[in-house]
Amino acid sequence: MRLRLVPQDTKWDFFSRPFLWLGISGALMVAAMVSFFVVGLNFGIDFKGGTTIRTESAQQVVVSEYRDALVPLELGDVTITEVFDVNFDENQNVTMIRIQAQEGEEAVTADVIREVEVALKTVAPDITFVSVESVGPKVSGELIQTAVIAVLLAIGAVLIYIWLRFEWQFALGAVAALVHDVVLTIGVFSELQIKFDLAIIAALLTIVGYSLNDTVVVFDRVRENLRKYKKMELKEVMNLSINETLSRTVMTSVTTLLALISLFVLGGDVIRGFVFAMIWGVIVGTYSSIFIASAVLLKLGVKRDWSKPDNTAGNQFANVDA
């Protein structure tokens, strides 16, 4: 007996409630954008400049004591968070201390780090700094710029590739799904205030890649079925294609999620935000390739029946609101 996540020969209608799904996605995207513009992202030092110090001590951490110890140093905005992870030993107490970029300086000076260490030693004498990272405002500004360029480049390149391999309607559908995924991911980072750093950009681009992967597989089948069933309505062709590929879509998402979840739980706290973004992206990407990319394709209509140009016009418009 085989494990089957999707029953054999499904005939589900994915377009029976187009407004419901587009409506949900639209609402989520609006929520994401509102959160992004109102609350903003919790930028890490890569994008904001400043210093993070990871401390380790055998003693129980009391965040307020740490904060009190640092107040006299007048370092401006200091955030202290305790870090928990399944991999830590019993008496391994880890905190992350983030200090804002100091005025007039690029990277933090060694003196400041030394002062912080001395101050914290009064609270936890055995404290050690496991890592110290400092990024100047100059570099962080450039990093934001390159990150935005990277995401736009990726979306643009993909648009062109799919346009060349398929048709422009397919390309637009795929890109609509991509934008949807990226917006929702940024939204979730803003809503949950998870640290947004350079690695998250890598995750975003991976989501772009993954979501595409899914979309392209569905589209590939649509293209094939369009040639096979020349008389079938576009809506039915798309439903058939999605149903045929559904088993694969779910299988791949599940194996990828299995791998990612094990990384999320066991991979340590350093990359947890990164892995979270990818888990979210896989779920959203799978959803969007069915409900967004395909829905957009259906709305745009496709050129049918390549051999007889006479019929195309009629078919194309007939399918616009199908």
């Binding site: 996540l5 570099v139 890598a202 299995l258």
Partner: protein, 553 residues
Amino acid sequence: MLQIDGWKRVLILLTCVVGLALALPNAFYPRVEAHNDAVADLEAGLSGNGLEELAAGWPSWMPSGLVNLGLDLRGGAHLLAEVQVSDVYEARIKSMWPEVRDLLREERATIGTIRLQPSPVDELRVKISKPEAIQEAASLVRGLARPVVSLTGAGATDLQVSVDGDTIVVQLSEAEKLATDERTVQQALEIVRRRIDEVGTREPTIQRQGADRILIQVPGIGSASELKDIIGTTAQLTFNPVVGRGSNPDASAGIGNEILPSLDEEGVYYTIESAPVVTGEELVDAQPTYDQNGRPAVNFRFNPTGARKFGDYTAENIGSPFAIVLDGEVVSAPTIQSHIPGGSGIITGRFTVEETTNLAVLLRAGALPAGLEFLEERTIGPELGQDSIEAGRIACIVAFVAVLVFMFLSYGTFGLFANIALIINVGLIFGLLSLIGATLTLPGIAGIVLTIGMAVDANVLVFERIREELKTSKGPARAIDLGYEKALSAILDANITTFITAVILFAVGSGPVRGFAITLGLGIMTSVFTAIFVTRLIIVMWFERRRPKTIEV
């Protein structure tokens, strides 16, 4: 129908074997690393200390390339420095003064007396007493300009001389500035490299980034500030004539002079001539030593030009003091006792032994042509790196087992085939990473885990397709064949699009993001290879042996 040519089979198997052999050393990381270090030491002519034994710890006919571990896994320091290229303009322009002065003095009859005017740091303003001869004087100064040596600045000269009333203004031309920037960064890069080599840490990465930046990564060093002490010091050594000595830092120095603090006498300031007699660039050697009183000092020697200049100067100025200036501070200002012809000398001051050792290293490696500003610095402790490796390894194994079990439950025998291919796939990724000497970072491990999840995708596509083809019952062999054939376009399109994003990540990203892009990109290549060649070969071989009448996928 289901056939693969013999030579293709050999080629596929050979690729797998070679890939896995390349990956093998990583399974014995510490031993192979010790072996590689020992071999390098032996080649460098060292021996003893059990080096031969360590070298024998790994057979020499086996591949010994390892995946480099990134800083976040190994621990170490990372610095991004910006070379302050404009520092150089000032020094260049300042050093023009004696030349301009000597030139114009000879023409005193026509242009009158000359006087250096206060000016912004990157220009030289010279006033002459007979304004009517200003054009003549300017063209004389223009004669000092030399052609710019650079690819883009062909035909341009290095000086831009203009006239402002009765004053000649000398500036560096734009072409010269560009050429100077290029030279400065190259020099700074070279000197940073030399300094780090002098200290002798292993496998440092020193790269130029963009127009004026240098990226420095040194694994295993305790902290970034330690690294900054070595490379951040400019170590600009000059010997300047002393004009006076006082205690007021704000006193008027006089044009062409400057006031510098003393290094070890608090409150003491020296007025010195800005144009140096000799600079540290003309040093050929520097060693830590002790002076006649047994205090730590640094011994130095000039090259022949430097020695001659120094000799001439000391011969002409017996009895007057000169200053030894290091990075804008007067180390000492001894009085010239006699002509010093040999071109060697000693720098004394209140140094500790450690300081003299460091100073000697810095002087030997040469001064940085310009200051460095650190834009980014990261220190990662080795224990954090170790924790990350440990966590990454456990996560990889769990992910791997979960996917293997899931695939077997879903596809039975065919799932097993996909699993074998998956194991080969991960082996191939490590093999390729070792082969190209790529660096594995924490996001890189995430890339591998993601690949484990996504690698089965191509197989799933094929298996699902075979299932579909079986429904139209054309017999198992035909179904398998068609399954591969029809799934191919989807596999290629899906992977090429993902590959495009990996390439963009690699091109635009830096550091850890790049590490992720590399493993993701390699993972896509190996998973397509294993899915369309390796699993297919396994299935074909199984089919030939069993000849099943029906198959269940």
